[in-house]
Symmetry: C2
Subunit: 370 residues, 2 copies
């Protein structure tokens, strides 16, 4: 068979620290590559077709100057972005993997891939202690969910967002029925997972997002006090004051949200530091300085930062507890679908510019949109 | 006997939040009161002579508008300051307490007191949950240390500073030999206790203070990398960078020190939030905003605030382990003595204006200076 198009999205240049990624400069959609689907596979290789891709905020941190260390290995310049996705095996020379298998895990942002992908992989050498080798988060087989839930659930409730919310809440929340939790970025994959786990556990949930549409979504999944923090300059403080005090703050945002939460924490409160999306794309001089950390000791607060990669040991419990809740409709996570790999950059930016109305998913193969 | 002078130091007016206390306005030395030492005592009362008084930073927080809640009850306006001290019982109508007994604990800043003090006591009613009734930290008998250590040790290594350092380090430090700790305000009572406990446990100690004299003191008690943070604008960052990364930051200071420590934390680091003395006397607009809390999750940091009053259950262990170390010279805490109750305000302010060269003690009775 003749080679067919194999478009991809490349990481081409590290942005200046604190800047937004610029399409065409830092991140490029490349239409021209091709692939011969009949090419010979070496032993151990298998060929996959990309079905769904999941833009996730941590990926922004991987797109950096590799000389700056962080918790995960950087992405490789000039190579496709790598992230979580759902793929279909077309052919396989690897034992235990066969054509027709569905797999989830890390895969390059391109239409077809000879796995294990090699060119986009970073040699794991010379990194600071604690750096996760992101390329070890490899593909694993998943079963066809049939009518239990849509395929895209593997990229959200059952993917990294869901697992991150589960671990953060279960391991660090120490939640007790009747307590109050505040979830920022409540319409995100992580946030909407946490909202629902908290409701199942009997907590009162305050949740914020940046649009009225997201507020409605948060309400439908059970948030008691969802609000649009952009409604007014004082909305954040007003709402937390009205519905607090807060026993648990699940922080996906950092900056002003963290400061406002600290202002409204209850005695013995816990702050789960999961992310700081408000801070990823702004330079140091414009970052919000938090002035009220002096509240940590009068209120006996605990602030705990975690990285999901350290807690893969909780996967079995996650996979035992969560899929039945999803299948029974007890956990309903919404996705914002972007259609076609060519929308990938738009999908990625939508996490940071507020345009995603829920967790973004790139539907690369339109048969897997539902 | 005719009444004799009973000078005292009064809390007369709550300062504007974030301002320094002004002598003569917020805090006043009153020379005129008298007391009749032969006055009849009611059953349960006893008369004490104040020997030593211990200004401690947390007292600043008690001198507030009582409508603002905090972790301890406020002090009572128009009444003597109350704080830790050493007193001698002159006469007693209380069972179990007799003339000649020495006692430590909360006592009003005046020369003589009919105990239990009543007028300076705040009725414990209507306070927010978690507020400590400071007036319950009552006097308890202590033995004459003879030649084992000076009396003032009861106000420092064996007093609240020592106990605070002990609890913070032992309960929240999770220290392992070979790790590195950074102690800010290292020449303070709490700080110098933590430096020495950390050395006993085999840690490398970085410690900061605001004068070369304090640096020398920190060196004599074992700090490996003591430094004067006022030496230059970049001294704090430079020294932490040179001697870090930091596994444990024992924070007595807050603000810039906390931010600089976060910049230099090691993976899985712990921040023990004990105090924020740099922030107590400055208004909100001049407080230092901390911009690097986004480091908590990449570095998997834990920040834990504590209030010593929650941990009185650790007193027995403290009193078993620490006095022998003091007696054997393994724990050497220095005091800066202020002579006479009339120096009390100067002593109090010395904690905040940098004039104390070590933990300040007011020697009210000159026989107890050594």
């Amino acid at each position: 068979m003749a080679p067919i198009p194999n478009p991809r999205i490349l990481f081409t240049k590290a942005p200046v620290a604190g800047n937004f990624l610029v399409e065409g400069e830092n991140i490029v959609y490349e239409k021209s590559p091709t692939i011969d689907l009949d090419q010979k596979l070496e032993s151990g290789q298998f060929l996959t077709k990309t079905l769904l891709l999941s833009p996730e905020p941590y990926m922004r941190d991987r797109m950096r100057d590799p000389s700056r260390s962080s918790y995960g290995t950087p992405m490789k310049l000039g190579q496709p972005i790598v992230g979580n996705g759902l793929v279909l095996v077309l052919r396989s020379e690897k034992e235990g993997i066969k054509a027709g298998d569905y797999m989830c895990g890390f895969t390059p942002w391109e239409a077809y891939t000879v796995q294990p992908y090699v060119d986009a992989r970073v040699e794991f050498k010379g990194f600071a202690p604690g750096t996760l080798d992101m390329d070890t988060l490899s593909l694993h087989q998943v079963s066809n969910p049939g009518s239990a839930f849509p395929w895209r659930t593997f990229c959200n409730a059952l993917g990294m967002p869901g697992f991150t919310g589960f671990v953060g809440f279960e391991k660090f929340g120490d939640a007790k029925p009747g307590e109050t939790i505040y979830v920022s970025s409540g319409a995100s994959g992580v946030g909407s997972m946490v909202i629902q786990l908290a409701k199942i556990k009997g907590l009162k949930v305050i949740a914020s997002a940046g649009s009225d549409e997201k507020v409605e979504y948060m309400r439908t999944i059970g948030a008691d006090a969802p609000f649009n923090y952009k409604r007014s300059n004082s909305a954040l403080q007003d709402e937390l004051k009205a519905h607090g005090p807060i026993d648990i703050y699940f922080d996906n945002v950092g900056g002003e949200h963290l400061e406002a939460a600290l202002d409204n924490m209850n005695l013995n409160g816990r702050v789960i530091a999961c992310g700081a999306i408000s801070e990823y794309n702004i330079p140091w001089e414009r970052k919000h300085g938090i002035k009220n950390l002096g509240r940590t000791f009068p209120l006996r607060l605990t602030l705990r930062g975690f990285i999901i990669g350290d807690h893969l040991g909780m996967q079995p419990r996650f996979l035992e507890e969560i899929p039945p809740l999803v299948a029974r409709g007890k956990l309903r996570l919404r996705e914002h679908l972007f259609h076609g790999l060519e929308t990938g950059i738009e999908a990625f930016q939508s996490m940071f510019n507020g345009k995603a109305t829920a967790k973004p998913i790139i539907v690369v193969d339109q048969e897997y949109a539902s």
